[in-house]
C-alpha cells in the first residue's frame, strides 16, 4: 500500500510520455521514484558529471538547462512542472553535456532508468517520444514550438565535447543551389537568379562546380561595362569555387570565408571541386545560425507570413531580453532594441492585415499608444493603439470607416495571437471609438485638452504617448501640432494631468515600509507599475508637454531632455531617469521570472540588498511630486 506513489502516478499520467502508459504501470514506476528537493540555484548535475542512474521529471518549480560556451552560460531551456530532462543515460554512455540547475525552490522526481526501460521497450509510443525528443536540438529556437508539451533533449549539437559548442553546430543551408553551364549567357543567368531571388549561381561542368557568379560579379563586371551583357557566363565567373564537406561547422565556414575572402561556399560530396554539388552556404546562413541577434529577428519579422511565425519570433525576443539583462547590457539599450523589434512586429501585423483585406481606400496612420508608444515595452503587456484615417467625402465615409474597423479588428486579433493581450479598457484601433477620421481625432484632442473634466471618463493620459507604426507620418504630425497648439492655452489641462500624476499613493508608508497590496490575488506584493513606475511616467509626460518637448516619448529620454531644457531642476530629473531604469529592471526581472508582465513584485524573494536598492529608487519620486505641485500650483485639494 502506498498512497503517495499513487498520487505521483496520478501526476505523471497528465504528461507525455507517461500518458501512453496504463495507471498500474505508472504506479509501479512511481513506487521506484526518488524525490529530490533542490534549493534555489542548486545544481542537479553539470557538464561532464558521470551519468546518474535516473532521469528527471519536474514536480514543482523550474529547472534551467544550460551549456557553457565561450566560458559563458547559455540557457537552453526552462523546464516547468511535468517536463522531463536528463535523458542522456537512456541513449548514451558518455557524461552529461549540460547543466541542470534549479531557478527557484524545486522538487523533482528521479525515475530510475532501470525501472523505466521495460516500459520503453514494450511501448513503441513511449520509445518514439523519447527518441524524437532526444534528437531535437533545442539550441535552435525555431524548434521551441515543437517542444511544447514534449520533453527536453540534453543532446546538444554535435557530440564532441567542445566548450564552444555554439560554434560547432551544423549549418542549415540551401540544398538546391541554382546551377548553370559554362556557356549560358550572362543575361539568361541574371534572369534565372532574379526569378529565384538568390544572389548566386553555380557554374558546373558535368555536375562538378567550376565557378560561381554572384551579385558582386554582376556589379563589378557587367554593370561597369567591362563585359557586354551578351557574353557567356564563364568570362565573368569567379573560379575556382571554395568547396567544403557536408557537416561543416559554423566556425569552420566563417574561417573559410574570411580566409578566402568569399561570400559563398560550395558544399560537395567529398569536399573537393571534383565531386558532386550538394549545396551552397551563404553568409546569410551563417548569420541565421547565430540566431537571436536583433537584426536577424527584424529581418525575419519582415518575411513572416503568419501570426504563428511572428509569435515564435516574439518568444525569441524574450530570450534576447533575458540574455541581455543577464549580460548587464544597459537597460536603455535593451529598451531601444526591443521597441524596434516590437515596432517591426506591429508593422508586419498591420501589413499582413492589409494583404488580407486589400489596399486601404484612404491614407491612414496606425499609432501605438501607451508603453509601446513610449518604447518601454520589454515584456508582453497589453496592446494599446489608435487608428486615424484621412478625411474623405461624406458619401464614402461609411465604407472607409468600415474598412478601417475591419483592419483594426484583424490586426488586434493577430496581435493577440502573437501574445499581446488586448487592452482591458478597449484602447485599440478595433474599437469604434478609437478608429476615427483625422478631423474627429483633432476634435477629440481639442475636447480633452480644453475641457478635461467634462468627459474625463474616456480621457487617459496614455493618448499622449504615441508612436507611428504604419501609415502616413503627416497624420501623426497633425496630431502633435494640435496637442502643442492647445498646450499653450490650457492651464486646466495641466491641472488635470497634474492631479492625475499625483493621484497614486506614495509607494512607502510613513515608516518607510513598502505599501503592499492589502488584499486580492497579489496580497503582500508590491505593485511596482502603479505605485512606482506610473508616477514617473506621468510626471515625465506632464513636464514634456508643458516645456513643449516634442518627439521624445521615452520616459528615460524625456527626463534626460528635461534636465537640459530646465537646468534649474536638472538634478531631480536625472535622479528620476536613473530611478526609472532601476525600477524597470526590477519589473522586467520579475516578469521574466514569472512569465507575466511583472507588475507585482514579491518582496519576500528580494534580497536585503535589492530591497534597499528598490527603496532608494523610490526616493526621487517625492522631489518630483513637490516639483509638480509647485510648478502647476496644485494643492492637495484642487
Amino acid at each position: 500500500m502506498n498512497s503517495i506513489a499513487e498520487q505521483i502516478a496520478d501526476f505523471l499520467s497528465d504528461y507525455a510520455p507517461f500518458n501512453y502508459l496504463a495507471f498500474e504501470e505508472l504506479s509501479q514506476i512511481a513506487s521506484d521514484v526518488k524525490v529530490v528537493v533542490l534549493e534555489k540555484n542548486q545544481t542537479l548535475f553539470q557538464i561532464n558529471d558521470v551519468l546518474h542512474d535516473s532521469f528527471y521529471v519536474v514536480s514543482s518549480g523550474i529547472i534551467n538547462l544550460s551549456v557553457i560556451s565561450d566560458s559563458e552560460e547559455t540557457l537552453l531551456n526552462k523546464c516547468a512542472a511535468g517536463d522531463i530532462f536528463g535523458l542522456r543515460p537512456f541513449f548514451a554512455k558518455n557524461n552529461y553535456m549540460m547543466t541542470a540547475k534549479s531557478r527557484e525552490e524545486t522538487i523533482v522526481y528521479a525515475i530510475p532508468i532501470a525501472s523505466f526501460r521495460p516500459f520503453v521497450a514494450n511501448n513503441p509510443d513511449v520509445l518514439n517520444f523519447l527518441l524524437e525528443s532526444f534528437a531535437v536540438n533545442t539550441r535552435n529556437p525555431k524548434d521551441k514550438e515543437n517542444l511544447i508539451g514534449k520533453l527536453i533533449s540534453d543532446n546538444v549539437f554535435y557530440s564532441d565535447q567542445q566548450s564552444e559548442m555554439q560554434y560547432f553546430q551544423s549549418l542549415t543551408y540551401n540544398l538546391n543551389p541554382l546551377k548553370t553551364t559554362l556557356y549560358s549567357s550572362v543575361q539568361d543567368v541574371a534572369q534565372q537568379m532574379t526569378a529565384s531571388l538568390t544572389n548566386n549561381i553555380l557554374i558546373c561542368e558535368n555536375d562538378f562546380p567550376v565557378g560561381i557568379v554572384t551579385d558582386t560579379d554582376m556589379r563589378t563586371k557587367i554593370a561597369t561595362g567591362r563585359f557586354p551583357i551578351t557574353v557567356t557566363v564563364d568570362k565573368i565567373m569567379s573560379s575556382p569555387v571554395v568547396t567544403v564537406l557536408e557537416n561543416v561547422s559554423l566556425a569552420e565556414a566563417q574561417l573559410l570565408m574570411l580566409k578566402n575572402n568569399v561570400t559563398h561556399l560550395c558544399v560537395t560530396l567529398d569536399g573537393t571541386d571534383k565531386s558532386l554539388v550538394k549545396g551552397i552556404i551563404s553568409e546569410y546562413d551563417l548569420i541565421v545560425a547565430q540566431a537571436n541577434s536583433p537584426g536577424v529577428l527584424v529581418k525575419e519579422i519582415k518575411r513572416s507570413q503568419t501570426a504563428k511565425e511572428l509569435k515564435q519570433i516574439r518568444d525569441r525576443v524574450a530570450d534576447l531580453i533575458q540574455t541581455s539583462i543577464s549580460k548587464n547590457v544597459p537597460l536603455s539599450h535593451v529598451f531601444n532594441i526591443t521597441s524596434e523589434i516590437n515596432l517591426a512586429l506591429l508593422k508586419r501585423t498591420v501589413e499582413l492585415s492589409i494583404l488580407d483585406l486589400g489596399s486601404p481606400p484612404a491614407r491612414f496612420a496606425w499609432l501605438s499608444i501607451g508603453s509601446q508608444g513610449r518604447k518601454e515595452q520589454l515584456l508582453f503587456t497589453d496592446q494599446d493603439s489608435i487608428l486615424i484615417f484621412e478625411d474623405v467625402a461624406a458619401e464614402k465615409y461609411r465604407d472607409v470607416k468600415d474598412y478601417f474597423l475591419k483592419l483594426g479588428k484583424k490586426t488586434t486579433a493577430t496581435l493577440e495571437k502573437i501574445g499581446f493581450s488586448s487592452c482591458p479598457n478597449g484602447h485599440m484601433g478595433s474599437n469604434m471609438q478609437w478608429c476615427k477620421s483625422l478631423t474627429d481625432w483633432i476634435k477629440q484632442y481639442d475636447n480633452w485638452m480644453n475641457t478635461p473634466g467634462e468627459n474625463s471618463s474616456d480621457l487617459s493620459s496614455i493618448f499622449f504617448d504615441y508612436e507611428i507604426i504604419f501609415g502616413e507620418q503627416k497624420i501623426e504630425d497633425a496630431i502633435t501640432d494640435v496637442i502643442f497648439k492647445n498646450v499653450m492655452k490650457s492651464t486646466l489641462f495641466f491641472d488635470f494631468l497634474g492631479n492625475d500624476a499625483l493621484r497614486n499613493n506614495s509607494p512607502l508608508t510613513f515608516f518607510k515600509k513598502f505599501h503592499v497590496e492589502e488584499e486580492g490575488e497579489h496580497k503582500d506584493k508590491f505593485d511596482i507599475k502603479i505605485r512606482a513606475l506610473m508616477p514617473l511616467i506621468d510626471g515625465a509626460r506632464l513636464f514634456c508637454l508643458s516645456f513643449e518637448v516634442k518627439g521624445i516619448n521615452n520616459t528615460f529620454q524625456r527626463f534626460k531632455q528635461l534636465s537640459i531644457t530646465d537646468p534649474k531642476h536638472a538634478e531631480i530629473y536625472l535622479n528620476c531617469a536613473e530611478a526609472f531604469l532601476t525600477l524597470s529592471k526590477f519589473r522586467t526581472l520579475e516578469g521574466l521570472k514569472n512569465d507575466n508582465d511583472g507588475q507585482y513584485i514579491n518582496l519576500e524573494e528580494l534580497s536585503k540588498n535589492d530591497k534597499e536598492k528598490l527603496k532608494n529608487a523610490l526616493a526621487p519620486m517625492r522631489d518630483l511630486e513637490e516639483l509638480i505641485k509647485s510648478k502647476f500650483q496644485l494643492t492637495q485639494f484642487s
Binding site: 500500500m1 503517495i4 506513489a5 498520487q7 505521483i8 521514484v33 524525490v35 529530490v36 514543482s60
Partner: protein, 198 residues
C-alpha cells in the same frame, strides 16, 4: 522511576530482540513518519494509522515506505465509539501489535524524523509497553525544532501546514498520515540542507 529495575530480567518478544540488535551499527537512513491518533494524550489515546518514507542520500525513496491503518476495535468499544469508518475504509487494516511489529522491522536503526515527533514517539512507546517491549531506541529529529533553530525562534511552535507555507512546499488537499509524512519529508530535506546536516 526505577522501572528499568523491574525490566532487567524480563524476557522480550523475538522481534524486539531483533530490533535492538540492529543498533550495534549506526544508520545513515532516515525514516520520516507521521501518525494519526484518536487524541493528544499518549496514555489514553491510540494510533489510527501510520505513514512513513525513508530518506537516503538527500532523496525520498517512495518505494521504501510503510503505511498501515490500525484496527483499534478495543478502543472504540471501550469508549463507545462507532468504528464504521474504519470498517468501510478500503485500505488494508492490521491490528496494533502486528502493525508495530512490522513498523519496528521497517525502521530498524534509522534516525526517525517527524513533526512534533516527541508525541509520536511517546504514543508508540505506550503501545510497545502494552506489548511487553521497551521504549524506541532510535534517535529522533523534530522538523519544528530544526525550523526554530534555523530561524532563531524560541517561543512559537508551528503547525505542519504553516511550515509548508513558510518553505513553499506545494500543499495537497489530501489528508492522511502518508501525506503528512511526505510533506514532513520534503520539509526535512530542505531543513537538512540548510542546517548542513549530513
Amino acid at each position: 522511576m526505577l522501572d528499568w529495575l523491574k525490566n532487567i530480567n524480563k524476557e522480550y518478544p523475538d522481534f524486539w530482540k531483533a530490533y535492538t540488535a540492529k543498533f550495534e551499527k549506526k544508520s545513515s537512513r532516515f525514516v520520516v513518519f507521521s501518525t494519526e491518533t484518536t487524541g493528544l494524550n499518549p496514555k489514553n489515546d491510540v494510533i489510527l494509522s501510520i505513514g512513513s518514507f525513508s530518506v537516503v542520500n538527500n532523496s525520498i525513496v517512495i518505494g521504501d515506505n510503510f503505511e498501515a491503518v490500525l484496527t483499534q476495535y478495543k478502543y472504540f468499544h471501550d469508549n463507545g465509539l462507532t468504528n464504521e469508518f474504519l470498517v468501510e475504509s478500503k485500505l488494508k487494516k492490521i491490528s496494533e501489535p502486528e502493525a508495530l511489529k512490522s513498523f519496528l522491522e521497517y525502521i530498524g536503526n534509522s534516525v526517525l524524523v517527524g513533526h512534533h515527533v516527541d508525541f509520536d514517539v511517546d504514543i508508540i512507546n505506550e503501545s510497545l509497553e502494552r506489548m511487553d517491549c521497551g521504549r524506541l531506541k532510535n534517535e529522533a529529529l523534530d522538523i519544528d525544532v530544526m525550523h526554530r533553530k534555523l530561524q532563531d525562534i524560541t517561543d512559537k511552535e508551528s503547525a505542519l501546514d504553516e511550515l509548508c507555507e513558510f518553505y513553499k512546499i506545494p500543499i495537497s488537499d489530501r489528508n492522511s498520515a502518508a501525506n503528512d509524512a511526505y510533506k514532513t519529508a520534503l520539509l526535512f530535506l530542505k531543513l537538512k540542507s540548510r542546517l548542513g546536516i549530513k
